[in-house]
């Protein structure tokens, strides 16, 4: 197996929180990691058909410590450590889903999912279509994605745009505490395979839980910050960067709206166009590479559907077209940042309007 992470690298170990932090969450504040764990625990309690499998999800508690404690709570039948064989355990998950179970398969990073791409694309995504709707694959795959933690090129890419290309899959991306806590249930309820992309830089994110919120959909985008001057369209790990950029821009008198796509397939065209028609300017922020990217798809849809509402060309902030560098300063330079987003917004506004 060419899996390079026989031992999770040091940085991943460092990502694991101290034990105390994992055990005593404040009732209102929660980390993204704890919210994901709460979702897993709730799903395992709610439905005996649900089980979790993947590399190091059991005794190690998950590479990012999301499933820490679940083996003790639910036992090895439902929290299953797998060999380092993505194609095999994703294939097993597909079989289990077809057989009536509700598997949650964790793939350590999206880079490794390429070993299971044949299973995901040729099997999971096609069966419903090829069987005339007789065979559904209600499989959920959780994948870590994204860069920013010095994990090197083989652990840091953002390939969700590739998966969003494939008919037959649903791609959902939790970027907030609430979505981390609630998207899994919606994904399990889908009769079709759902890929949930968790940005590795978000696991330590802390935020408020919305009291009383127990369910979300995985169909709609959300306005995370309303604004008048420009629509910042983003998802996942870039959402906090966009919100930070929006704060800085607000200090300069620029009022941007931040759209969290939440679902990359299907894309919520209506929400995107509604926002762009109001602000008349759009900037897409996507940690994927620019060429042939999800950002390119969104840009095209805006041009197709809202051309006559545009007051400026649509712009993009994407990752530099290099394998993600290991060195911190190079990695930072390659990725979208609040500074680059602010500069791009000012560019779209143009003519010194940004002050």
């Amino acid at each position: 197996m060419p899996n390079p992470v026989h031992e999770p690298p040091r940085a991943m170990n460092d990502a694991r929180p101290p034990a105390a932090a994992a055990t005593a969450p404040s009732p209102m504040r929660q980390s993204y990691r704890d919210a994901l764990r709460e979702a897993l625990r709730a799903a395992l309690h709610a439905d005996p058909r649900v089980f979790l499998m993947g590399e190091d999800v059991g005794r190690y508690g998950g590479s990012y410590a999301v499933s820490k404690g679940l083996l003790e709570e639910f036992g090895p039948e439902r929290i299953r450590d797998t060999p380092l064989a993505e194609s095999a355990f994703v294939g097993a998950g597909i079989g289990a889903a077809i057989g009536g179970l509700r598997p949650i398969v964790e793939i350590m990073t999206v880079n490794f999912s390429l070993l299971a791409l044949d299973q995901i694309m040729n099997n999971a995504a096609t069966y419903s279509h090829m069987s005339g709707g007789q065979i559904h694959v209600p499989l959920v795959i959780r994948l870590a994605t994204g860069a920013g933690r010095q994990l090197g090129a083989q652990h840091s890419h953002s390939l969700e745009g590739w998966y969003a290309h494939i008919p037959g899959l649903r791609i959902a991306v939790p970027a907030t505490i609430d979505d981390a806590r609630c998207m899994l249930a919606a994904a399990l309820a889908s009769p079709d395979p759902v890929l949930l992309f968790e940005h590795a830089a978000l696991y330590n994110l802390e935020g408020e839980r919305t009291p009383g919120l127990t369910a979300v959909d995985i169909d709609h985008a959300a306005v995370r910050r309303p604004g008048r001057d420009l629509s910042l369209i983003t998802y996942g790990g870039s959402l906090p960067k966009c919100l930070a950029a929006a704060e800085r821009l607000a200090e300069q008198g620029v009022d941007v709206e931040v759209i969290d796509l939440r679902s990359l397939r299907p894309l919520d065209d209506a929400a995107i166009m509604d926002s762009v028609r109001r602000t008349r300017r759009a900037l897409v922020v996507d940690e994927g590479w620019r060429s042939g990217s999800l950002a390119a798809e969104i840009t095209t849809r805006i041009v197709e559907q809202a051309f006559y509402d545009l007051d400026a060309p649509v712009a993009r902030v994407c990752t530099a077209e290099v394998p993600i560098p290991y060195a911190k300063h190079l990695e930072d330079a390659a990725l979208p940042s609040p500074e680059r987003i602010v500069a791009a917004v000012r560019g779209v506004l143009g003519r010194g309007e940004a002050g």
């Binding site: 008349r280 051309f307 006559y308 509402d309 545009l310 007051d311 400026a312 143009g350 003519r351 010194g352 309007e353």
Partner: protein
């Protein structure tokens, strides 16, 4: 050869003009530089001049009609049409007449500007259509639709879009300006309202687009004042020089010597001018301000400059301006005169890149040779375009003007 005689654009934010009178009738001969028609713009009455020798064939637009920039006013039969006649303004030594393809900005004579890239074709259009030469006008899709809702014509949009991208905010401003001038024209015409709107639009554009920087310089005006007193004592009253002419000459000389202050900024870059056409801000009776140019101010001696300046003021205050001097300025001087404030911080007149403001000359206590002295002092303020120059260059430019004023006999 028969050519179309079109309404030229005579200043920033000019969209249209009221044709007030024909100075020629069909069959009349016309000579190069001769006024053909008088039009009224927001800035006053302007005589539009012919660029060729020939005769008038027919007049198309009736007096009393408001026509957009670029509209065909008449047909002329001309002897030797200049290759640029139908579309580009003429050489600085001629008086511009027909500038059909020009955008709404005040365009100085094109030949005053050096192409910044070698081998670049001169920016003139061979066609006589009222389109800017740079292909399609760049109006954002949303701005187009807003213009439609506001009832602005396609022509107006295209003229306004030349040289800059038109966004929704620009269209709304255009409509607001037009509403002011339009309603004024419809009812009792109040030129002051239209003038104020035109100044407002040009200055708003300057403040929006031009990153100004400002520098101030106190100038010992003693040598200049003494020289003026001696000179004026020896000439008849009508030939006497005024301070403003001395300052204008110093500004023009410095503008010719220092790069980055004399020219225009368009399409995202600075185009230096080879000649110095000094715009002079002239206050009008009843309010308002225009800044027509004294052509080739750096090359004229002081008596000539004074005569040109007096003639210009007289014509402008009488409400008669020539299209050539109206749009030609490459740098502007604005001066408050003896009863003005100490310092005038000016706003650049786009598409120019620099303007010098002169306050009143005052007796001030200054340190001179280690002693307190009372000296006539002039405070100059420079506003320049940071896209073109920096404060250091501006400082050298301003100090050069101050230095020139120490040697008035060499001006």
């Amino acid at each position: 050869m028969r050519i179309e005689f079109r309404l030229p654009s005579l200043g920033a934010d000019m969209d249209s003009a009221l044709l007030t009178a024909w100075l020629k009738k069909p069959g009349d001969p016309i000579a190069h530089g001769e006024p053909i028609v008088t039009v009224e713009t927001a800035k006053g009455l302007i005589d539009v001049e012919a660029y060729e020798n020939g005769r008038v064939v027919d007049l198309i637009v009736e007096p009393g009609t408001t026509v957009p920039v670029g509209a065909v006013l008449a047909h002329l039969e001309v002897e030797h049409p200049s290759p640029t006649a139908a579309s580009a303004p003429p050489r600085p030594d001629a008086t511009p007449a027909v500038a059909a393809a020009q955008p709404s900005e005040a365009l100085p004579p094109r030949e005053a500007f050096l192409p910044s890239e070698a081998g670049k074709p001169p920016p003139s259009t061979p066609s006589a259509t009222p389109r800017p030469s740079a292909g399609h006008p760049r109006v954002s899709p949303a701005a187009r639709r807003r213009a439609q809702e506001l009832g602005l014509s396609q022509d107006l949009l295209e003229q306004s879009a030349a040289g800059a991208i038109l966004h929704v905010a620009d269209v709304e401003q255009l409509a607001a300006t037009r509403a002011v001038t339009g309603s004024a024209a419809a009812a009792a015409p109040d030129p002051r309202i239209a003038m104020r709107a035109a100044i407002g639009a040009a200055m708003a554009r300057a403040k929006r687009e031009i990153p100004h920087y400002y520098l101030g310089q106190a100038v010992d005006f003693g040598a200049a004042r003494d020289w003026l007193a001696r000179y004026n004592a020896g000439v008849p009253v009508q030939d006497r020089l005024i301070e403003a002419v001395l300052i204008a000459k110093a500004v023009a000389l410095a503008a010719a010597r220092f790069e980055g202050f004399n020219g225009r900024f368009s399409d995202g870059r600075f185009e230096p001018a080879t000649a110095v056409h000094a715009g002079v801000a002239i206050a009008l009776r009843g309010g308002g301000l225009v800044a027509p140019a004294v052509l080739d101010a750096d090359r004229k001696d002081l008596p000539t400059l004074m005569r040109d300046f007096s003639a210009l003021v007289t014509r402008v205050r009488a409400g008669r301006m020539r299209s050539g001097e109206f749009a030609a300025a490459t740098i502007t001087l604005t001066s408050l005169g003896a009863d003005g404030a100490d310092v005038l911080y000016p706003i650049i007149n786009p598409p120019q890149v620099a303007i010098v403001g002169a306050g009143a000359v005052r007796e001030q206590a200054v340190v001179r040779d280690g002693q307190l002295a009372i000296r006539p002092t002039l405070t100059l303020a420079l506003a320049a375009d940071h896209r073109v120059t920096d404060g250091r260059a501006g400082s050298r430019f301003l100090r050069a003007i101050a230095e020139l004023l120490q040697h008035p006999d060499t001006l």
